[in-house]
Subunit: 139 residues, 2 copies
DNA sequence: ATTAAAATAGTAATGATTCCTGATTTTGAA
DNA sequence: TTCAAAATCAGGAATCATTACTATTTTAAT
């Protein structure tokens, strides 16, 4: 029942903390494997889930069919690029007031909300303009 | 290239329009099969995707690992019960202003936002209180 | 050092969704 | 009406993320 220390879990957490983007389980796996070549994908999944349950990391779902993970557990919002799929942080005031607003005409207890934004990220926007036949700078 | 009429697609759309909840592909499949027993699950998926691409229905993703579908394409928000998993509509003013707010400190083009709420729905709340040892009405 | 609980590696299983293929429907024109 | 091309279908195989299983290894308390 008690939690025991594990080198694998430590490495997963450490790796996540080095990243400002929000890697998927598979990306975590590929990277941790560089230092610990025979870690298994199942171990990565199990520990990501465990850490998320403990509240040490956050699981992020942005509708792309893959779970992303974030070592930053403070409340903040995310942006998903519909072009490259990257998930990035977004500075913005907290919107918990929405829960009150939503609860006004609703029969039930609203515990929280999920909000994320989508569009074209800065990099893809630049690349798109550069590649455009209608007047980008090429070379 | 041109779209051709299909009985299957019609039935799928018709079934969705009878529902105020937001069925998954599998639920659509099981129900349409009552009238058209040898429709295939692949056909249901293909047509749900097609209808969603045409904008005739909406695909809803609420982080439960399954896509839900909604014949009501007008902008509105959803609530997911963490107890029973049901997805229901939620009356609330549109929040497109959030996109402007979010774009303020962001490098990129924000096209839209996804918001949904979660908690305990009215039915589960009632059931929970009824079953509670700490003072429900038993008789 | 001993030992029971927890965690692991490796692999199999699951579940939602997509892809593939040969047969069937639809539709517009002859 | 007849016909052929394009679209769609049914059924099943394949994919992909994730979870479950099991024999072995690691952890940590005695």
């Amino acid at each position: 029942m008690a939690l025991k220390h594990s080198r694998q879990r430590e490495m997963i957490k450490e790796f996540l903390m080095t990243r400002t983007d929000h890697p998927t389980a598979d990306i975590v796996y590929m990277n941790v494997r560089k230092q610990h070549p025979n870690i298994s994908l199942g171990t990565v999944y199990r520990n990501l889930t465990l850490l998320a349950d403990l509240g040490e990391i956050k699981r992020i779902r942005v509708g792309d069919g893959v779970d992303h993970f974030d070592a930053d557990t403070s409340p903040h919002y995310h942006f998903v690029c519909t072009e490259c799929g990257h998930v990035t942080d977004l500075q913005m005031k907290n919107l918990d007031e929405l829960v009150t607003l939503a609860g006004a005409n609703f029969d039930g207890q609203i515990a929280g909300h999920v909000t994320y934004f989508y569009g074209i990220c800065g990099d893809c926007g630049k690349a798109g303009r550069d590649a455009s036949p209608a007047g980008g700078a090429y070379h």
